[in-house]
Symmetry: C2
Subunit: 296 residues, 2 copies
């Protein structure tokens, strides 16, 4: 398979579904829905929904049926970016080269656009019934996994500890807490929900959980490395921005070469966890490579 084409195809399917599910720009309140769409269609990689579809595929599930859940993940991811960029938080004027939501629509509307997107994710998750979905039980469990990973003991918790750690000396366990929560939790939820809704048995679900934990952390280590050596296009933010903010990173704590070894080890761990899967897990394998190899 050709990863580049695969990612492009998936991105297009997800974008089309997002366009279908999100309220139209001319539906009331119009500016709110414009702000929501401005941020959702700002050129994201759609990594989380792609991982969900790939995990579903790996266990032989029907990816078409889980598009509402995949889009829910992207809505949650986008809401977190909008809120992170706010003046009271990271105070970022640009994201992916475009003015951030609050720069265009104002702070109040940006807060509300984030709130609306988080809520919309649960509208989608709880609306996956009838012709698009299999069972209410799976729907409930998927919602629970996603809500837990997005909440105060997941992504929001990671963001809080990250914020509290800025400009402070932190140790590796704290850095690992931040990353497994702030970024890792949504990646984990994406893969677990893809597996669950794809009909995974227990052993496959556990193997995919290990895959997600390893590649989620690998993604963050690679991101930290890219922040130093990086290519701004790959990174989606300014090179050197972590250092400028006084944020702890893997290379800062471990040195560049140890950080690279850690990224490689995590990638290999992710690949090993897929050993029992056949051809259908090839996208997941290539994504693990893609996540890490861009930082070499």
């Amino acid at each position: 398979m050709d990863l580049k084409n695969y990612l492009k195809d998936r991105r297009q399917r997800i974008d089309a579904a997002l366009d279908q599910y999100l309220p139209a720009e001319d539906s009331l309140p119009e500016r709110l829905h414009q702000a929501v769409r401005y941020s959702v269609f700002a050129g994201g990689k759609r990594l989380r929904p792609i991982l969900m579809l790939a995990a579903c595929e790996a266990v032989g599930g029907d990816t078409e049926k889980i598009l509402p859940a995949a889009c829910a993940m992207e809505m949650i991811h986008t809401y977190s970016l909008i809120h992170d960029d706010l003046p009271a938080m990271d105070d970022d004027d640009l994201r992916r080269g475009r003015p951030t939501c609050h720069k265009v629509y104002g702070e109040a509307l940006a807060i509300l656009a984030g709130d609306a997107l988080l809520t919309e994710a649960f509208i989608q998750l709880s609306g996956m019934n009838g012709n698009t979905f299999q069972a209410d039980d799976a729907c409930r469990r998927a919602t629970h996994i996603i809500a837990r990973c997005a909440g105060s003991r997941g992504m929001v918790g990671g963001q809080v500890v990250d914020m509290e750690s800025e400009g402070k000396e932190i140790n590796l366990p704290t850095l690992e807490y931040i990353h497994t929560h702030k970024t890792g939790a949504l990646i984990l939820a994406s893969v677990q929900v893809g597996a669950l809704l794809g009909g995974a048995d227990e052993a496959s679900y556990d193997a995919l959980t290990r895959y997600a934990e390893a590649s989620g952390l690998a993604f963050q280590v690679a991101d930290d490395i890219l922040d130093i050596i990086g290519d701004q296009d790959l990174l989606g933010k300014d090179v050197g921005s972590d250092e400028a903010r006084g944020k702890a990173t893997y290379p800062a704590l471990l040195g560049l070469s140890v950080a690279r070894n850690r990224a490689r080890d995590l990638r290999d761990l992710a690949l090993e966890s897929l050993a029992g899967f056949g051809e259908a897990a090839e996208p997941l394998r290539q994504i693990a490579h893609y996540i890490v190899d861009r930082s070499f």
Copy 2:
């Protein structure tokens, strides 16, 4: 029945359940969970969860089983207050006589505490299984009702139009849009979910929907009246604050006496919709009186 004792008893049950469901103050991240609890336990009337339990009771349901959903409503209500109070929004320093969340914990943590509470609501809704809950189908439908009422076409939408209307001349349909969305939507969801989870048949569900629509709007008309004539204790905010902000209100648009007639008509409409219910709907009837009669 004695409404005062009824409300007190329900408030205590809901507070005990909230205390049980919310992350402990010493669980990581501690300051986030402290901020969450600070706002949740700031002395709210718990009107929305009480309405949910009362609707469940009216159709003969077991209120104990729906406490997670009732608490979810209060979490969503509290998140909306935290975000509404932010400097970028209403910029309020006090709520119910205490400093607002962002005054105590800072703006960033207040944004995240709101985010965490909104997410926690869906953790509770999707976690109502096994021994506390009846059916995954009802759980999914309840989640859908609540998410829709809380989202961009519900409460968040109402907040946006309210914000956009400040200091402008608005007409009655716009004011009604604001109220049915900003306040009415969560009241509607509370009653509908109480009915649904209590096992209502279609006719009872529809009657309770009419009750909720009428009393939700009545609540807001009465609130507007109280803002002028009011007693700060009943209101929970500064008397005259709507006028000071240039917010449109029913008395401002219609005059005080027409606004009072409107509140009475809505109360009577709510009571009529309960005509087919027996003794079990007595709390709902008395709550409709309580909502409106405080503004006379």
